[in-house]
Structures are given as C-alpha cells and as structure tokens.
C-alpha cells in the first residue's frame, strides 16, 4: 500500500508523548521570551515572501487593466 509510510508517520505523531512534540530549542517549558521570539522569526520569511508576492500580483493586475479604471472596477 503506497500510503502506508504516511499513515505510519501520522500514527507515530499521534502516539508520541507531548515532550517529543516540543520545539527542539525552546521545549514545552521553555522561556516564553524565546518561544515568542522564535515563533515571530520563523513566521517572518513567509510574511515577507507573501507580501512581495502580493506586490507582484497587484502590480500585474494594475498593469493589465485599461487606463482610467481603478483596481476594483
């Protein structure tokens, strides 16, 4: 069965103790300062890349519409 490895991986995650699911650096009882900082820094590349993609999308759509019209019309 092709999906067997994925099912096994999912079952291992569900059966794992909570401490095994903790962040490798901060852990479940980690310093909240580190937890917040790491979560923020990990999310930043996605936020920046998403914002840049949004800029490209907006510029592309603005360039394609006829002159004199707004973005929403």
């Amino acid at each position: 069965m092709k999906s067997a490895p994925y099912l096994l991986a999912a079952a291992s995650l569900l059966a794992a103790p909570p401490s095994a699911l903790a962040c490798g650096v901060c852990g479940l009882d980690g310093d909240p300062g580190f937890v917040w900082s790491i979560a923020f820094l990990m999310s930043m590349p996605f936020a920046v890349a998403g914002a840049i993609g949004g800029v490209f999308l907006y510029s592309s759509r603005r360039g394609r519409r006829p002159a004199g019209t707004t973005f929403l019309r």
Binding site: G33, L41, A49, V55, S59, S60, G63, R64
Partner: protein
Amino acid sequence: MSPILAEKRERKAREEGNLPPSPPPEEPPGGDGGDGSQEPHSPAAGGFPLGNAQLAMVVFIAAELMFFAGLIGAFLVFRFSGKPWPPPFQPRLPVGVTAVNTLFLLASSYTMARAQGALRGGDTARLARFLTLTGALGTLFLAVQGYEWVRLLSFGLTASSGVYGSTFYTIIGTHGFHVLCGVTWLIVVLVRARMGRYSAAHRTGVIICGMYWHLVVGLWPVLFFLVYLL
C-alpha cells in the same frame, strides 16, 4: 571570420549600396505595464510588472524587514523573559509625545503619496511642494525623537544602563538612522525635482524613494507598539 570583421564588411557593403539598409534598432520594451514610466527597463505591457529599479528596491526592502525582524526578535526575548518590564528604577518612556510624533510620521507618508500622485499627473510644482512637506515632517519627527532622547539620557536611561536601555536605543536608534537616510534621499530627490529631472514619463527615482519612505513609516507603528506600549 571574427564577428568584428564581419560587421565591418557588412557596414562597408551597405555604404557601397551592395546591401539594403539595416533595419532600425528595436524599441526597448515599454508601455504602461505597471507605473506608466517610459524609461528604459520599465515594465513592459504584459511582461514583468516591475521595473529593474523597483525590483531592486523590493529586494532591499525585504532585506531591511528581515533585519528589523532580527532586532524585534532579540527585543522579544528580553521583553517576555518573565522579569519585570520596565525594570524598576528606570525612567519611563514618553508615550504621549511619541504618539503625537507618530502622527507626524504617518502624515509624511500621506504627503509622499500625494507627491507621487502629482508627478503621475505631470504637476512638478506640486511634486516639489509635497516632497518639501514630506521632508519637513520627517525632520520634525527626528527632532522630537532627538529631544526626547536627550531627556531620557539626562534621566539616566543610557545604552549601558541595562537591557531596557540597550534594546530601546538599538531598535529606536536604528529606525531613526533609517529615517535620517530617508530624509537625505528626499532632499536629493527634491533638488532633482526642482531641476526638472522628473516628469510623468520619468518618475522611477521618485517611485523608489517613495517605496523606501513608506517602508520607514510603516515600520514605526510596529516599533512604537512593541517598545513603548507593550
């Protein structure tokens, strides 16, 4: 045969009338693909939506955002470390004055947008006026920040007085330095605008200056909330 030699022979043949005249060089891609600029390397209709300079500024802005993310990350480690914040016996930050200062900076973003709109319409006089306003508001922001810093230093909050002082001066000082660079750039753009270097068809310089200024202004409310209010 080397390409240079072949080109020379072809040119000589055209001069002697043995070859038809060479076709005119192709027009560089242009058209209103994005900002309406007719400058070289401006966005082509149906092509990539940003010109070269704008793309470079987008990459630079992404780098600056990650730089400030690092500073904010370091601040968060100390802020949420569980210790009392602000630490005892440290001066309190001037939230009220800085809130008013924030409004000045946000207003400068509006005047910058108006300046870009004026240039899009070809009104260079209004462009210069709004650029002057933007620079003046940015300078006012820096002056008020500087004044508050002097007061904080006199009250004993220095960069070496602890984590509170060092994180404050590092983050706010870095932003202030960026504002100073932005004001300097605005002055250069203003001088060039008064010299007539910009028009509705040539506005890339103003556009990328505006992008940097909006970055600097957009960062400030985040830093104000984190450092002053949180």
